[in-house]
């Protein structure tokens, strides 16, 4: 089956993955499908900057090697959080940068959007950072990220075989995550 995009880009959907075929205008955002995964990739960092999980569902472009990519992402988040807190025109306090707060408290950015993707971010009080990159038409993913955090608590934090601070290699978590991400509109 194929979906014809008014911006003269034709995508052929094959086995749930969108394959680009014949584009005249670039860059143009991929049409979200109901069958394939609706997210591109996800990162999970702990408070020390260790990348606990990197999951990729649809990422045609890789510019850096994985270590550089993770460091760049973590650095970006740190700077963005700092910037958004410092530029807050409504807050009279100095602000406590670096201290994890409940999602929604304090002043922290939670997403940014370009014409080709949207990056959503959530940090938990324990310092675990969730980053989800999706297509740009995605709505507010704060509840989604909270749900993913619940999956993390159940299948990673409470997994007797998992050592905190190490790479997440829990099959139940991966399966539940993949299944959930497929359902994101």
């Amino acid at each position: 089956s194929y979906i014809s995009d008014p911006r003269q880009t034709i995508y052929i959907i094959e086995k749930g993955n969108a394959v680009l075929w014949g584009s005249e205008i670039s860059p143009s955002p991929p049409v979200p499908t109901a069958t394939g995964n609706n997210a591109h990739m996800m990162y999970v960092f702990n408070r020390n900057g260790v990348c606990l999980l990197y999951r990729e569902w649809n990422r045609p472009l890789h510019t850096l090697n994985p270590q550089q990519d993770h460091k760049l992402m973590f650095g970006l988040l740190f700077s963005l959080k700092s910037l958004t807190a410092k530029m807050d025109p409504t807050n009279a306090e100095k602000g406590n940068l670096g201290i994890p707060q409940l999602p929604g408290q304090g002043c922290s950015f939670h997403s940014f959007r370009t014409n080709t993707y949207k990056l959503s971010f959530m940090e938990t009080p324990s310092g675990i950072k969730f980053i989800l990159v999706t297509n740009p038409r995605t709505g507010d993913l704060r509840e989604t990220l909270k749900y993913i955090y619940n999956l993390y608590v159940e299948y990673v934090a409470k997994n007797p075989l998992y050592t905190p601070g190490t790479l997440i290699r829990c099959e139940l978590f991966n399966t539940a995550l993949d299944q959930y991400v497929r359902s994101i509109a």
């Binding site: 299948y155 409470k158 007797p160 075989l161 290699r169 829990c170 099959e171 991966n174």
Partner: protein
């Protein structure tokens, strides 16, 4: 008035117990760690069976006692009953729980990234660690039955997570 305990607390405590015995007290001596956690389970099972059989008359035979373990006892511990009971009528019973509560969150990444011998040994370690978590419930069953006058040996089989089978062999 009942007293409640958070289930997360129990789960974390059990995880830490196994981890401490395996990695600290008896590091590199898994048989001793296994025996110790099984012994702790024995004490727990002994006391719990006392508590849960307070209002009941004695059991007429072994099968009745095993059925008590499968139904009332398991329900008190895990809010569900044993799903399947098999016996050879010669002293061996197999209790199958299709979703054993203490194993529901346990998982490892089965796919080795490049299949190196290091990865494979990590997978073998993981399997061992998984089985370490079963000595405690085996001890609980053994302790409970022992208090009901039935000495036995109990082992577990986790070839099919999260289902778990407990094999009870009654000593003649």
């Amino acid at each position: 008035m009942g007293r409640d305990v958070s289930e997360s607390c129990i789960d974390s405590l059990l995880t830490e117990m196994v981890s401490t015995y395996c990695n600290r007290f008896y590091a590199n001596k898994p048989e001793l760690a296994a025996r110790r956690t099984e012994a702790i389970g024995y004490q727990v099972g002994h006391q719990l069976s006392e508590r849960y059989t307070m209002e009941r008359p004695c059991f007429s035979d072994h099968l009745e006692a095993i059925k008590f373990i499968c139904k009332d006892f398991w329900f008190e511990l895990f809010k569900k009953q044993i799903d399947n009971l098999k016996t050879n009528h010669r002293g061996t019973f197999v209790l199958q729980d299709n979703r054993f509560r203490w194993l529901t969150r346990m998982s490892i990444d089965q796919s080795p990234e490049n299949g190196t011998s290091e990865e494979l040994s990590i997978m073998a370690d993981n399997k061992t660690m998984q089985s370490m978590h079963l000595y405690f419930p085996c001890g609980i069953i053994r302790g409970a039955l022992s208090n009901l006058g039935i000495p036995c040996a109990v082992s577990a089989d986790i070839s099919n997570l999260p289902a778990c089978s407990f094999v009870i062999r009654i000593k003649a």
